[in-house]
């Protein structure tokens, strides 16, 4: 089986392999197509500087996508990804600048806060039995509101200089270490969902929570863990933004992360109905988004039309996915 660990009895392993792998190969082909297009239209696209900034924003988009993906796997959604991200940003800023604590503690504090806020989401969803959409919509505003009340929206830009330096660091002269971290997180998630009991339980709970509960999966606990993981990932993305900006800004994250958080996983083939994840697909989906954003910037088409492109690409992608699914289904029926 591929990294789309689906637990639907109706779907055979072969069909999944076909659907999952073809989706990722198709996505990869589209990304490569855009690279060829942009680099032939604008030579600046392949410059070391552009590749470096592209890789750095890709790292952030990938992790934002992961934060949504792990909750989608449980069959829910998390509209608070951006709010948790910005709360982590300001927490790290507070710990490092105001309290003057060492950097590892600042990072750890932000991640713990992210996990705690995610846990709160999961706990509220499981305890009340209310739709995750509405709980996280409300909590997103609680978190952002509390952050603004506490920080008075003042940016913290006297962080230790090592942080900004890390954001500007280059491995092999073009690769940002942030991208390597994002790949590392991806590898860990791949192992989690493919080989660990917890990962399989999350997918089982997302695919069919009643069946999972009957097979002894502690569904409530698993959903809460999924949200906690999402919070930690959102906080990681927030920390990456801190490294990129070299400062803790209260204006990052929030609703701006909403679309990217869904774009990566949905383009990559994660179902909104739960029970699937596509770790590699999410990375490719984020790569497509970042490539287009960077390409339009280099071509100076301007940020204004970017939103339109992203919306249309999401629409085309879900449409293609829908019809590919139908096509595979039909072929399977034809063979019988």
């Amino acid at each position: 089986m591929t990294d789309q660990g689906v637990h639907e009895p109706l779907l055979s392993g072969r069909r999944l392999l076909l659907a999952g792998a073809s989706a990722r190969i198709g996505l990869l082909a589209i990304v490569i197509m855009f690279w060829i297009l942009f680099s032939s239209l604008a030579p600046g696209f392949l410059s070391a500087f552009n590749l470096f900034t592209l890789g750095r924003s890709l790292a952030i988009d990938v992790v934002i996508g992961f934060a949504q993906m792990v909750v989608l796997a449980t069959g829910g959604m998390n509209l608070a990804v951006g709010s948790i991200g910005v709360c982590a940003v300001m927490t790290s800023g507070y710990l490092l600048q105001i309290l003057g604590l060492p950097i590892p503690i600042g990072i750890l504090g932000a991640l713990v806060l992210g996990g705690a806020l995610g846990w709160l989401n999961g706990f509220a969803i499981v305890r009340t039995g209310v739709n995750s959409f509405i709980i996280t919509l409300a909590s997103a505003n609680l978190f952002s509101g509390a952050m603004l009340i506490l920080t008075k929206a003042v940016p913290l830009n006297a962080l230790p200089s090592e942080i900004g330096a890390f954001g500007k660091m280059k491995v092999a002269s073009v690769v940002s270490p942030l991208l390597l971290i994002a790949l590392g997180i991806g590898a860990a998630l791949y192992v989690l969902f493919r080989y660990s009991v917890l990962g399989r339980q999350i997918l089982a709970a997302g695919a069919n929570s009643r069946a999972a509960a009957m097979s002894g999966v502690p569904v409530g606990r698993v959903v809460i863990l999924g949200h906690t993981l999402s919070g930690i990932l959102a906080a990681s993305a927030g920390l990456m933004v801190v490294a990129r900006l070299g400062a803790a800004m209260p204006a990052v994250g929030g609703e701006e992360w909403l679309l990217p958080s869904f774009l990566g996983p949905v383009l990559g083939g994660t179902l909104l109905s739960g029970g699937t994840v596509a770790v590699i697909g999410t990375m490719l989906g984020a790569a497509l988004v970042t490539t287009i954003r960077s390409g339009l910037l280099v071509l100076q088409i301007g940020n204004f039309w970017l939103q339109l492109f992203l919306g249309l690409i999401l629409l085309v992608a879900v449409l293609l996915d829908r019809y590919r699914g139908l096509y595979v289904e039909r072929r399977r029926l034809g063979r019988q």
Partner: protein
């Protein structure tokens, strides 16, 4: 059953009580609350919010959601402003054109959702991005300032504390109430939302009704956009950018079920009024404006919890 008892079972009774208690409290605590000007400002701030709440309410009623309410509103607002300023066309043309664009946006949302069977959340998330993109691409974030004096006057005039602007949402509310309770498509809309399979089996054209709800939602968003232009006196591309939370908060605090089939026009109206009252109270008390966002989040959670509790206790009784 006594009157008090019966009132307690109506969803919006708690909201009405909260509004009355809040108003009395504010009137006692701050002398500025009951001034004609303050009441006018507060009532005027209600108008757009009411229509935004209704726009989401109808999609919730059919069991869908519309993330694109604000994006469509923004697009309609600048199209409306552009028709008036750049093309110099009269209001009699611009207002129907604005509503038609809203209906078209809703039609796109509805058709994409129904024809493809893709989750309405993803569809409207994508179209929201596309609508915002068109809006920013056309305007480059520059507003249209030259609005007809009639429109601006309509946005400002008032009879004592009653702004003329409020007439529009009140009429819309009455029509919506009639539509949902007395007409066949209105009842079908709620039937599809309540149990789409049962509605299908009873011969209701489910797909067409979902499309209808999206069209209605688009037109209500467009109406909200027109009122926002009248209220601001200019067509800002940022109109609608902050509607998402309010659009869900109003119907849900008003007692709508996210699963569909159950919405309340009066409840939504009282919810918008309560939110406006809270915002007004915070301004008068000179509280940090960031508290509004925090409280709105808390209010939604409280409302969801209360609805849940009511459902459970109704089931037990």
């Amino acid at each position: 059953m006594t009157l008090v008892h019966r009132l307690a079972l109506v969803e919006w009774s708690g909201l009405l009580a909260a509004i009355i208690i809040g108003s009395v409290g504010l009137a006692v605590l701050t002398p500025n609350f009951l001034t004609e000007f303050n009441l006018y400002v507060m009532l005027r701030s209600l108008c757009v919010g009411l229509l935004v709440g209704f726009a989401q309410m109808v999609t919730l009623g059919v069991g869908q959601m519309n993330i694109a309410v604000g994006a469509l509103g923004g697009l309609v607002a600048i199209a409306f402003g552009g028709v008036l300023e750049s093309l110099g066309l009269p209001l009699a043309f611009a207002v129907p054109a604005a509503l038609a664009i809203g209906a078209l946006g809703g039609l796109i949302n509805g058709l994409l959702t129904v024809r493809t069977g893709i989750n309405g959340f993803v569809v409207t998330l994508a179209t929201a991005s596309a609508f915002t993109g068109i809006n920013l691409g056309i305007t480059k974030s520059i507003p249209f300032y030259k609005m007809p004096p009639v429109l601006v006057a309509f946005g400002e005039q008032h009879f004592h504390a009653f702004p003329y602007l409020l007439i529009v949402p009140l009429i819309v509310a009455a029509l919506l109430g009639l539509f949902l309770s007395r007409t066949v498509p209105g009842r079908q809309l709620l039937a599809v939302g309540g149990n789409s399979q049962a509605a299908d089996l009873s011969g209701i054209p489910r797909g067409r009704i979902i499309v209808l709800a999206h069209i209605l939602s688009g037109m209500l968003a467009a109406a909200a956009a027109v009122l926002a232009v009248a209220q601001l006196g200019s067509a800002q591309p940022t109109i609608g950018a902050d509607w998402l939370l309010l659009s869900f908060a109003a119907p849900i605090i008003g007692g709508a079920a996210l699963t569909g089939g159950h919405i309340s026009v009066l409840g939504t109206m009282f919810a918008v009024a309560l939110i406006a009252l809270i915002e007004n109270g915070m301004v008068l008390a000179k509280v940090d404006p960031y508290w509004v966002q925090f409280l709105l989040g808390a209010l939604i959670l409280a409302a969801v919890w209360l609805n849940r509790w009511r459902a459970v206790s109704a089931g037990a009784g």
